[in-house]
Amino acid sequence: MLPILLIMPILQLVLFGYVVGSDVRNLDLAVLDQDNSIQSHQVVDAFTSSGYFTVTARPTTDAQLKDDMDGGQAVVAVTIPKGLSDSIAQKRAAQLGIIVDGSDSRTSQVAAGYAAGIISNLSSAFYPTPGAPPGATLSAGVNAQVRVLYNPTMRAVNTMVPALLAFVIMMSTQNLMSQAIVKERERGTLEQLFVTPIGKADYLIGKVLPYAALGVVQVALTFVVGVLWFQVPFNGSLLVIGTGLLLFMLSALGLGMIVSLMSRTRQQAQQTSMFLMMPSMMLSGFMFPIDAFPRWLYFLTFLIPLRYILVIVRSNFLKGSSFMSLWPQFLAMAVFSVGIFLFGLSRFSKRLND
């Protein structure tokens, strides 16, 4: 049991770090080249050398292309019409066909974007603008220079590791807490305890402390591995994230108590826990940008404690944000955590009293 608990955070780190933020690249590309000229080969080279695409299919007919896309061998296709080299030689406009698999709208949009960029560069290369020195690449009029602040490498791990600190607490503390209480209820030992002179507060503290401690250990482990192994930069203060995480732990403990109240068996508790965790994962900004949610859902996210702690942890890690800049989140966290915890506590005591 214990080894599992220690391995889990590391496993999550690896999975989340490498998977979630992976940039869209190496997309499977199908090339239907009906021109077969030097220029058409240059087009294909431009695509592959960008690093965004890997040629996985070379259909020779439209029907084959359709099969390749249907079967998932390719998610993007570029069709080069016959006569491309002629058009270029005669300085006539030419058009390439880009087909994207819209099933995955994110990938398809990004793919379309990449493709457009590549084609735009190719355009400048094939058709030097009159009056401009050959080879001059204009960003078609606007030179947009993108600078990413605070996380210049845009490594997803850098945003995932801080997030995982909170996530780890949620997974273990909340989950284990609910399991532990329900286990005692199942075994009937809960009733045994009532017969002893132990105070309710003492019982709860005794129950809560080991899991809180475990949570701290897991967070520390994640932190160390994240910073040392994954080399995530830490620009913030331990005090800030420590406070935030403690508050979050309170809310996790409270939720764990509430789950245990609703379940009669451990299996139910586990299932309920998992089903509470999924919305937290999905709707808190952990993986999916909240800004894109429909309005009603956007407002719903204000109810999720994970949302706030994510902002706190990520901001502090990468931007060095202080208590001052983060006060709205801290306030929300405090209200939530204390609120949930006290609620859970009162329900729990009430149940104990029955």
């Binding site: 889990m8 947009a144 919305p279």
Partner: protein
């Protein structure tokens, strides 16, 4: 055979007698379905954006307007100077700051490139990535329009100057219905979570209840026990899949272009895989606690991360890609997406189906062999 049926019937009774369980299995997934199908999309929209216009020309205003018009950016404030940039980010009020350089308008008018800086908050990498991509694309489009206007103003035919353009078509989901992408995937994830947990508990519970020993003393064979345990859950799982699918189709208007039989058959195979996985956990776990933890570990995370549910597999580092081949979810995901959005047929999908069939057999046999027939 009789023994298998006896076990299956007993399991059914257990299920039916636990009302809570039924509610959880049927209702929870539907609730989740609704939440996520609405929420999940990678279309980053409404990115809170601040602008710093150092040029204040017609062109700069046009540019900023172009950004605002697209749904991607929501310009909610204008900054006064560079000094305001960091605080804007620190307060997490804005994710993007667009700085239009002084001289932007003059440069454009003179046929040179205008300079713009797009500053993105890297602490939210998804938004950052999307934001920067969209900003670049929009800038290019804006520039392209300007170019055309300029060229035409000079009396030239824009097309005569040549130029390579692209005609982009989106297949299968042209309207960009995110639900169409996610719902099939959600089916896989939700069903996996439910099924693995059930069978993971079942053998361990027998141990805890003491009935395990009775099973040992009876002449039942290990493989019979496994099959009997899986059968009722296979039925429940398949039902679940159908329900979620139907609701998904009706409520979200996602298409279903493939063969129902193909879908049903592969669903059954997949469910057997996940149930078998749960049995493997169950066969060796010593307590309900570790069974639960292991089940979560084995079902939830890999299905979520390594099946191509949200994150395209082609983007993963090679090691993780290899790993994903070990999980049946990957194959079922392809089948689901294809059947819903593209159509697909046995001829196209046979590799995935074969993979599922192999997995199903191997897993069940493995579970049987891992099960200890002694206490």
């Amino acid at each position: 055979m009789r023994r298998i049926l006896a076990i299956a019937r007993k399991e059914f009774i257990h299920i039916l007698r636990d009302k809570r369980l039924i509610a959880v299995i049927l209702i929870m997934p539907l609730v989740q379905l609704f939440l996520y199908a609405y929420a999940l999309s990678f279309d980053v929209k409404h990115l809170p954006t601040a602008t710093l216009d150092l040029d204040r020309s017609t062109y700069s205003r046009q540019y900023i307007n172009a950004l605002q018009q697209s749904n991607y950016f929501t310009v909610d404030k204008t900054l006064g100077s560079y000094a305001d940039v960091d605080p804007a980010f620190q307060s997490n009020a804005d994710k993007v700051v667009v700085v239009v350089g002084a001289g932007f308008g003059d440069n454009i008018a003179a046929g040179r490139a205008g300079d713009v800086q797009i500053l993105v908050d890297g602490s939210d990498s998804t938004s950052a990535q999307m934001g920067s991509t969209y900003a670049s694309v929009l800038s290019r489009i804006f520039g392209g329009k300007i170019l055309v206007t300029q060229v035409e103003a000079k009396g030239l035919n824009a097309g005569a100057a040549g130029g390579l353009t692209a005609s982009t078509r989106t297949w299968y989901n042209p309207e960009g219905n995110s639900a169409a992408y996610f719902v099939p995937g959600l089916i896989v994830v939700l069903v996996t979570m439910i099924t693995v947990l059930q069978t993971a508990n079942t053998l361990v519970k027998e141990k805890e209840m003491g009935t395990y020993e009775q099973l040992i003393v009876s002449p039942i064979r290990k493989i019979e026990l496994m099959v009997g345990k899986i059968a009722p859950w296979a039925v429940m799982g398949a039902m679940d899949i159908v329900i979620i699918a139907v609701v998904g189709i009706l409520a979200f208007g996602i298409p279903f272009r493939g063969s129902v039989w193909l879908f049903a058959g592969s669903s059954l195979l997949y469910v057997i895989c996940t149930l078998g996985l749960g049995l493997i956990v169950s066969a060796r776990a010593t307590s309900v606690d570790s069974a639960n933890q292991l089940a979560a570990l084995v079902s939830f995370l890999p299905t979520f991360m390594l099946s191509g549910f949200v994150f395209p597999l082609s983007s993963l580092p090679a090691a993780l890609q290899w790993l994903s081949y070990l999980f049946p979810a990957r194959y079922f995901m392809v089948i689901c997406r294809t059947v819903f959005l593209k159509g697909g047929s046995l001829a196209i999908l046979w590799p995935q189906i074969a993979a599922l069939a192999i997995f199903a057999t191997v897993i069940v046999v493995l579970a049987a062999s891992l099960y200890r027939e002694r206490a």
